[in-house]
Amino acid sequence: MAESLEQAAQQSFPRTAACLPEIFDFMDRFFAHAGVGDEHRMPMQFVVEEWFTNLVKYSRGGTRDILLDLKRQDGRLVLSLTDFGVERFDIREVRDVDVNLDLKHRTPGGLGIHLLKRMVDDIGYEYVDGRSTTTFVKKLE
C-alpha cells in the first residue's frame, strides 16, 4: 500500500547551470528513496535540466533561487519547478521546433522544450503574484 502514500522532497537551487550536478544528485537520492525505476532516471533528469536552464536564461525578473519539488503519488511522478518574482512564462505556449529541417536551417534553440514535451504525460502551469510554477507528470506504470 506504499503506493498510496505520498513521497516528496523539495530543494532550492541557485540560478546557474553549474549546479546541475547537485540537482541530479538530489533527484537520484529521491528516486532511490521513492523506488522510481532506473528507466525514468535519465528522461526525468533531462526534463528538469531543460526547463531549469530555460528559466535561468529566459525568465524575466528572476533573481531568487529556483525551487524543485519532487513527488511520487498515485503511480505518478510529479516534478515541479517554481520561479519567484518573475513574469508569466507558460511552457505550453512555446511553439515546437521543426526537427525535419536540413542541417543548413537547423539551430539548437527550442530543441530542449520540444524533447522534454515528449518525455512526460502531462504539463501544468500556475502563475500567482509573480510565482511561476511548471509541473511535469510522468506515469510510472
Binding site: A17, Q45, P108
Partner: protein, 100 residues
C-alpha cells in the same frame, strides 16, 4: 561529469554526462577539429539539448568544408534523444551492437 578524449583510432570518445554544465568544455575541444571523425558514445550515459547544440554546431562547421562527424555505438537514452531531435537525418548514426 563529461570525459572527452581522442581514442586509439583517432575517434572522439565521449563518456559520462553531456549536460549544460559541460558544454563549454566540449565546445573548446570540438573547436579544434578540422576533419571528419567518428564520435564514440558507447559510454555516454546522458545528453541534453546543450550537448546536442555542441554536436550540431560542430557538424555545421565541418560540413561547410566537406567533412562530418559520425556518431557510433549509440544506445539507450542517447539514442532516444538523437532520434526525437531528428539528428538521424543530419548525422550518420551507427547503433551499438546488441548486448550479449
Amino acid at each position: 561529469m563529461l570525459d572527452i578524449r581522442v581514442g586509439e583510432k583517432g575517434e572522439i570518445v565521449l563518456s559520462g554526462r553531456f549536460d549544460a554544465s559541460q558544454a563549454v568544455k566540449a565546445e573548446t575541444f570540438m573547436a579544434a577539429l578540422t576533419e571528419s571523425r567518428n564520435v564514440d558514445v558507447s559510454d555516454l550515459q546522458y545528453v541534453s539539448s546543450a550537448g546536442l547544440g555542441v554536436l550540431l554546431a560542430t557538424q555545421k562547421r565541418l560540413m561547410a568544408t566537406g567533412h562530418a562527424l559520425k556518431l557510433v555505438n549509440v544506445r539507450g537514452h542517447v539514442r532516444e534523444v538523437l532520434h526525437y531531435s531528428g539528428f538521424d537525418q543530419i548525422f550518420e548514426i551507427e547503433a551499438a551492437p546488441p548486448a550479449s
